[in-house]
Point group: C2
Chain length 154, copies 2
Amino acid sequence: MTEKNKAKVREILDTYLECNHHRKTPERYAVLDAVYSIDGHFTLEELDAELTKRNFRVSRATLYNTMHLFIELRLVMRHSLVDGTKYEACYYNDSHIHQVCSVCGQVTEINVPAVTAAVNDLKLQRFRKDTFALYIYGVCSTCQAKLTRKKNDK
Amino acid sequence: MTEKNKAKVREILDTYLECNHHRKTPERYAVLDAVYSIDGHFTLEELDAELTKRNFRVSRATLYNTMHLFIELRLVMRHSLVDGTKYEACYYNDSHIHQVCSVCGQVTEINVPAVTAAVNDLKLQRFRKDTFALYIYGVCSTCQAKLTRKKNDK
DNA sequence: ATAAATGCAAATATTTTGCAAGCGC
DNA sequence: GCGCTTGCAAAATATTTGCATTTAT
């Protein structure tokens, strides 16, 4: 993530905290920066490691609180995949389509403009649409091969 | 869920267990039946309650094991929403689009044929696509009204 | 008879909570 | 100074695991 983009999300947080009379604590900015420095999905544990690497220690409670805040602000997306809960910076990310193998748990982000457009064009009643996540479940070719082999063995 | 449809999913489980030389335990059929008797999303706790109501007791471990199996078989879908993990019978269910309010957590299932078609038409490389789940995040009108009111108060 | 599946209980992992202390406004 | 936010530690939940026992094949 470029510095310019990090500045932009920092500004979004800034504006929100000011408008809603919440505090601009160093923790919130440090966590945001860490989040936007990690590429792709990450666990809470990994986020904590990133912060430690930067010599910034936050408590578990604050980490959870802050992630909840960021999710409400659409700065972070939470995914619950086969191998546990993962987070992801989502402000500069319009690839919300995940291909998930339910055998091995492997997740691949894919880009499908037609689907993205269909979702974005969607008009919802009494609902302010902000973002979306699409999970396509199936079996990857590697696992498919293993399954076929296993069946033949028997 | 009609009895006819329950019979159909039971048959799917049956065929799978036979072909793969796994055991047809009473637990597996009892859990499947309970799953397909509950309407909409449910927690593990609620599933356990349904089984207890039917005088069928299964251990926590078996419940988790069985749900994992059903998920692989596409008989069950697992959702991780704001208010925790939810499961859902999914074999006779093609409404996989969820509208999720990130403030109150309310989930509404919606039907959008255009989007469903776009996803179903999708061709993926080296991946056997089975099913999908789409989550559209935003703010419901009730929460939106509350937020606006709060902002005006200040 | 054999191996897979279950139950149980303990271990682990994950998330929330209450309260005292710290600090942004 | 006020009261939101944090850290801490404990509590509450959720999920997995090892092992003895049961049971489907």
